[in-house]
């Protein structure tokens, strides 16, 4: 497997997004 193929595989990984309510949960933990 070539080096560039490894890079391609990594970049093909989907971008993850924070879940709905992430910010609200951070603020809740801030108050806890």
């Amino acid at each position: 497997m070539e080096d560039h193929r490894i890079g391609d595989l990594l970049r093909e990984l989907p971008r993850e997004r924070a879940s709905n309510g992430f910010t609200a949960r951070v603020l809740e933990r801030l108050d806890a």
Binding site: I6, L13, R17, A18, F22, T23
Partner: protein, 192 residues
């Protein structure tokens, strides 16, 4: 009329004064990047979510000590990396103390023919998360986050050559881990 968004530096200045609204705005702005970075480091979406929240909490609590350098995301990634490092050290110590403790973590599920791409992503993600952290961090920053060697060297406090070397070693590790799926695996070359 388009309202201009406050910069990260402006938001941090307000957070230093205890501004919760500014903090919420900052979390909203960077949460996806932080969760994505942590998912790639840990290979575990739920853990990334939890560590991501902790990352922002630490930012808030250390806001008074924060020195503006013009790139807050790098600072957030540094906090996130340190959290992963601490957690992995803790897990390692626990494994040493309790050798028969079953290892926790994601258990692979059987791939179905219609999910080859997702399965490949899972294999790659798992392989990345299993790399030593010293290779994993620069590899993820360079290949996934698109950072330059120079920026990574600055962030990690090492030389550019060291960064290149670690990324190269990381790729070699990944090759070794993914080679079986590449060579003999079931239709891994099929994409679609």
């Amino acid at each position: 009329m388009v309202l201009e968004q406050p910069s990260d530096a402006e938001l941090m200045a307000r957070i230093r004064e205890g501004g919760r609204d500014a903090f919420a705005d900052l979390v909203d702005r960077h949460k996806d990047a932080v969760v994505n970075y942590l998912t790639r480091l840990t290979g575990d979406r739920d853990r990334a979510e939890d560590l991501g929240q902790e990352t922002f909490l630490r930012l808030f609590r250390s806001a008074r000590d924060y020195v503006e350098q013009g790139y807050l995301r790098a600072y957030l990634f540094r906090i996130a990396t340190n959290l992963v490092r601490s957690e992995e050290r803790r897990e390692k110590r626990l494994r040493l103390l309790l050798p028969f403790l079953p290892r926790t973590g994601h258990q692979p599920e059987a791939a179905t023919p219609g999910l080859l791409r997702q399965e490949l992503h899972r294999q790659v993600s798992t392989a990345v998360a299993s790399l030593p952290l010293r290779y994993r961090v620069p590899l993820v920053l360079h290949e996934i986050e698109g950072w330059s060697y120079v920026d990574i060297a600055q962030e990690l406090g090492c030389r550019e050559g060291t960064v290149k070397s670690r990324i190269h070693r990381g790729r070699q590790h990944l090759k070794a881990k993914l080679e079986p799926y590449w060579k003999g695996g079931p239709a891994w070359k099929t994409t679609g």
